[in-house]
Amino acid sequence: MAVTAFSLVRIHNLFAAVMMLGIYSLLAAVLYVVMDAVDVAFTEAAVGAGISTVLMLGTLALTTRMDKEAKPLVPVPLAIVTATGALLIYATLDMPHYGDPGAPIHHHVGPYYIEKSASEVGPPNIVTSVLASYRGYDTLGEVTVVFTAAVGVMALIGRSRRRKKPDPKSENHGRKEQQA
Amino acid sequence: MSPETTIQAALLTPVIGAVLISLCGRWTNLRETVTLVTAVILFSLVISLYPLVLEGGRPSLVVGEMLPNLSIAFTVEPLGMLFACIASFLWIVNSLYSIGYMRGNNEKNQTRFYVCFAIALASSVAIAFAGNMMTLFIFYEALTISTYPLVTHAGTEKAKRGGRVYLGILLSTSIGLLFLAIVWTWMIAGTLDFTPGGILEGKASNTIIGILLALYMFGIGKAALMPFHRWLPAAMVAPTPVSALLHAVAVVKAGVFTVVKVIIYIFGVDFLSVTIDPDWLLYISGFTILAASIIALRSDNLKRRLAYSTISQLSYVIMAAAILAPLSVLGAALHIAVHAFGKITLFFAAGSIYTASHKTEVSQLDGIGRRMPWTMGAFAIGALSMIGVPPTAGFISKWYILHGAFDSGQMLAVGIIIVSSLLNASYFLPIVHAAFFKKEIESPNHDDHGEAPFTVVIALTVTATITILLFFFPGIFIDLARQLI
């Protein structure tokens, strides 16, 4: 995974980069399965490796395939990233260990769902119970986000715009200047 | 009418006047009638409170709470009464004068001029009657803002620059220093009400009191204490009635009024004299008096000379208050009134000269007294009052200030007053002398002119007459001012 990510940083062919991102997502999905998150893995595979890739390819077709020439590591962002990473690593030192059953999250809200969801909600898939019922409101928000994105894409590059193209008013004046 | 209603009416009259004026903008005669009528009503309302205040009444009015435990409130006390009387009376005279001046010089945007004038007057009356420091501050700023369009009236590049300096200095001192002082006072004292004897006694260390006093004195930019005096000459670009408003009716008067008010009602004269004895204030105001006089002496532009004269005269008031002797405080209060009448006469005369002959420089005025005897006669009276020569009102206030300075042994102040009177004489008397006794210089484009328009002459005659009358009947103001001490 790290290899994929690293090659992503260096790679310049955008097409390859998108493919790498797809692979990265798939690898993440595999990891999710390993870590017992089957639902998430399913979604990640469908979304990260599927939808995102398709979208990216579509965008590439509409824009360009190549990145500009290579740039050396830029110092300021590097410093920011290093600082952020260092802070996180520093934080990990106090974290409960991976898979530790004594971690706080396994003792508060989580277990409640595992114990009660069958009797309170029903479905054996606890994730579904939580997603659709206990935290159904979050899911409503999630659907709204999808809705927002779709309407946003319509507003941004919806088809009606094409018919309008000859009309300079609705067109970006910048573009006209570009062509002139 | 109960006193509360009268206060209310006095505050609202100019505002209503402003609205009516803007509505009547198209009919010039009606518009100016409305202005005059409003001014007269305002004056009669103010003066109707006079007997009550003289008897020791302190009518007050609370409009409402603005911040928790901090109301917009008005209380009429002697000093405010004095200021309100002067402002509202001079508004009448000034309106008369404005009509002649504005028409005579074909100024544009006259409606805006009268509207802003009325609002400025409303703010002045509100300042005069303010019952606590916050109310005062609110209207202090309102006065600044409402006079800005007046200062930049001409709309020229020069007017714009003048307006920038005017607004820049007045707003930055008031927001930067005065505002800070007020909030701080509120924190320390828990109140901002004007209370005889002050509100700060025993509530803060001497250092803090000292800092606060400095914040107040420099924060009140309208009092033009050096180095924050530059706005006054800058504002000279405005039409003469506006200069009269700035120098006599409202703005600088509001400044020194606030200074005196802060010293008497926020700090308390006795408290100040036993705690920190603000000598530095004496020095700075003394320096301002002398420095401004010297600059005035060297200016050829008549209005500029008058402007620096104002700066020096304002510091008389500050110095008098800073002496902290009862008689000098009384002198300070009187000087506000006396200077108002004297200076407005001088400005009226300057504007009159400009209207009739379009002359602005002192050196051009040779022999003009023969063409404009009324104008220059009034100018002479005003000048004498500035110097403090009897039988003009200037003598009275200077005498009280000197008396107070002697009583408290402030020989430095005595010296400054004497030196500055000499300086005053040396920059005013040559003008009078030249106007009446030198021969007119013949220049090719010199046009034949006589006196200024009728209303202009009336206005300056009235103020000159009052300057003399006040010498013989100073009682109306002295009786009021005596209650302060």
Binding site: L21, M35, S52, G85, I126, Q178 | -
Partner: protein, 127 residues
Amino acid sequence: METFYGLFNYWIVIVLMMMGFYMVIAQHNLIKKIIGLNVFQVSVFVFYISMSKIKGGTAPILTDGIEIYSNPLPHVLILTAIVVGVATTALGLALTVRIKDAFDTIEDDEIAILEKEDQERERGTIS
């Protein structure tokens, strides 16, 4: 040593996260920025999921005879977050398409130059 194995997982994730973050802020290509954003977010998701894992646990689907389940809550959160992420990506890509239309490039630095020209033109035409 135990610390090392216990936290190693997190460290890997953090390194991945930071690679994505670096791409977002250092890359000039608008699409690569979005790719970076994806890497960044996916890594955060992995971080969430790895905290839900419990030793000896299984997927949180109730089955007879199994006692230990991984914590389902992070799974739910990440399901939501993934969707939010893809929505952002879609929008970002749509914007990129429009930018390509308007500026004829998707390189950040070139756009900055064009924008500066716009600004100067604005000043120039008026003055």
